[in-house]
């Protein structure tokens, strides 16, 4: 009886999870998604806990309380820190899967060989491998995003890097095959521990060659891994709820990763093994290029007289925490009847959808956040394109310069607008170390300074100006 009740609860939970994801398709229904998700999860936890085989409760209660104690503060981080929070939670997900897999292996190994069938052992090995590599990989990613001092920000590469990784993977596979063939051998737990060690190391090695610009893809891939680890756990425990929920998460991460890769015109393998950012500092031929600086007053005047303005935000906006100032600028321009839209590149920022969340936080209606593909046809009619802390995603070299590392990447056509203002902290090239032709175009004027200050000054000009009329 209890078995059927539990299975029924799992079935309902699965349905609720599917609905939760379905409701995420528009902001209008998305709030419901959270309620469905919470309901499904509560049902699953209660049903599981109520099973007669669960006889020890104290540790679970303690763990749940601690989970709340850590989880609540983690949900209150500033939105600019959401990428590292997300990476951190992938790490927790990976850790949970890895630990459950290990516990099951050592338990079954102790109870005799009949339990460790080929299928179960393979599933456990996959779970542990995916779980632990997601754990350390996500911790590294979170560290990079948080700009922790002892984790190098720039991609770290060394000769034979891919060979080293491949060799490690082969060793892990070799040990795995040995464990599958002889799961009850006395040495099996040692070999299993070796696999755990390799998985942990592998996670670190996988992330160190990856640069900040590739973080959105990497976070999505880690998201997928965390889901797949849960699927493997479902195979181990013969639990269909784990399989369905894990598969939903796995496919979500996969789709996001594909979108990110397409938005950079790169392949998975290229992101994971390409070590972007280190590549060619090639063209030294740009000595005669000069920036045309513009003053705040001049910039404000042009903005004021425009009829349509498109703001293109990038990671620099997040770093400078400039989204609230951007909102003030948006208000000032709207007040003057200027049409203002935001052009969002899929990989702007450090995780999928990063810019949208920051701008939504600043109370900008999401109807004014426009995707790259939708806004590009309109760009030639736009009076002013204002680039706020974006760089590679507006670099025309992606269209024209075959030698550029970003060649082929779809970009926002800022250069086609009648006038371009680019806010830039310094005269150094962007994250990928690539010169941006946009800055030297005839139509482009540079506003040098911290994004937050520059926009603040523009707002001051505009509001002061309206007072004098």
């Amino acid at each position: 009886m209890i078995y059927h009740l539990v299975q029924f609860a799992y079935l309902v939970a699965t349905g609720l999870f599917v609905f939760a994801l379905h409701w995420m398709n528009t902001p209008a229904t998305a709030r419901r998604a959270v309620y469905a998700g919470v309901a499904g999860m509560t049902l699953a936890v209660v049903a599981t806990w109520a099973q007669p085989e669960v006889v020890h409760h104290l540790w679970i209660v303690v763990a749940v309380v601690l989970g709340f104690a850590v989880g609540v503060p983690l949900s209150r981080v500033p939105l600019t820190a959401v990428p590292q929070r997300t990476a951190l939670s992938h790490a927790f997900g990976g850790l949970a899967a890895g630990l459950v897999g290990s516990a099951k292996f050592y338990l079954w190994h102790g109870e005799g060989s009949a339990h460790l069938t080929v299928f179960r052992t393979v599933a456990i090995l996959l779970e542990v491998l995916l779980g632990f590599l997601t754990f350390t990989g996500s911790l590294m990613a979170a560290g990079k995003l948080q700009e922790v001092k002892w984790i190098p920000q720039r991609p770290v590469t060394y000769p034979g890097q891919n060979l080293t990784n491949l060799a490690l993977l082969l060793i892990a596979v070799g040990l795995g095959i040995a464990v599958v063939l002889q799961p009850s051998a006395a040495w099996a737990p040692v070999a299993f521990a070796g696999i755990i060690g390799i998985a942990l190391l592998f996670g670190v090695l996988l992330i160190i060659p990856i640069g900040g610009a590739d973080m959105p893809t990497v976070i999505a891939i880690l998201n997928s891994y965390a889901g797949l680890a849960a699927v493997a756990m479902g195979f181990v425990l013969d639990n269909k709820l784990l399989i369905t929920a894990g598969a939903l998460d796995g496919s979500s991460g996969l789709i996001l990763a594909i979108i990110m890769c397409k938005a950079m015109n790169r392949s998975f393998t290229n992101v994971l093994f390409g070590a972007f950012g280190q590549v060619q500092q090639a063209k030294a031929g740009g000595e005669d290029k000069v920036y045309k600086p513009e003053t705040i007053e001049g910039g404000a005047q042009v903005l004021e007289q425009a009829t349509s303005v498109v703001i293109i935000p990038g990671y620099g906006m997040a770093v400078a925490q400039a989204q609230h100032k951007v909102r003030e600028l948006y208000d000032q321009l709207k007040k003057r009847g200027v049409s203002v839209k935001f052009a969002i590149h899929p990989v702007a920022g450090r995780m999928p959808g990063h810019m949208n969340v920051l701008l939504a936080e600043a109370n900008i209606p999401y109807t004014d956040l426009v995707e790259m593909d939708e806004i590009n046809p309109d760009m030639p009619q736009v009076d002013v394109a204002l680039v706020v802390g974006a760089n590679d995603v507006v670099n025309p070299a992606a269209r024209s310069d075959k030698s550029s590392p970003i060649y082929g990447m779809p970009i926002i056509d800022a250069d086609k607008a009648r006038t371009v203002f680019a806010i830039k902290r310094s005269k150094n090239p962007g994250f990928a170390g690539i010169d941006n032709e946009l800055y030297f175009s005839d139509r482009t004027w540079m506003l040098f300074g911290d994004a937050k200050n520059v926009i603040g000054e523009l707002v001051k000009q505009l509001s002061g100006g309206s007072g004098m009329h």
Binding site: R31, Q51, G71, S89, L99, V118, N239, K240, L248, N356
Partner: protein
């Protein structure tokens, strides 16, 4: 994988887990996932990631089933840590998703065309 297919029939006699229904469930759930996620608005990709994060913390089910039964203490300890890790994800995942979604507002002004 070859290894699996070759040796599976021999092992099947000894084990109770029937692999095939699980693989069917996995396949179908993945397709449903792909179909549903594809339609998620790009605006919401960050909240999507945090809600799927919370949902994948369904690993809590497995963790409870390791931490709760009458197993040796060291095994249960691993399970309890896993319960903690999953619970953290569930709580922070759902809460932050909710927090972010609250920020997405429309302000439909007269004369402004909202694109679908």
């Amino acid at each position: 994988m070859m290894l699996l297919t070759i040796t599976a029939p021999a092992a099947a006699a000894a084990e109770t887990t029937d692999i095939w229904p699980l693989l069917f469930v996995f396949l179908l759930a993945s397709f449903i996932g792909l179909g549903v996620i594809r339609r998620v608005s790009r605006l919401l990709h960050t909240p999507l990631m945090s809600i799927t994060n919370a949902i994948s913390a369904i690993a809590v089910v497995g963790a409870i089933l390791v931490a709760g039964p009458d197993y040796p203490d060291h095994i249960r300890l691993l399970g309890a840590i896993a319960v903690f890790a999953s619970m953290t994800n569930i709580v922070s995942g759902f809460l932050i998703t909710q927090r972010m979604l609250k920020m997405f507002k429309t302000e439909t002004k007269p004369g402004e065309v909202t694109k679908p």
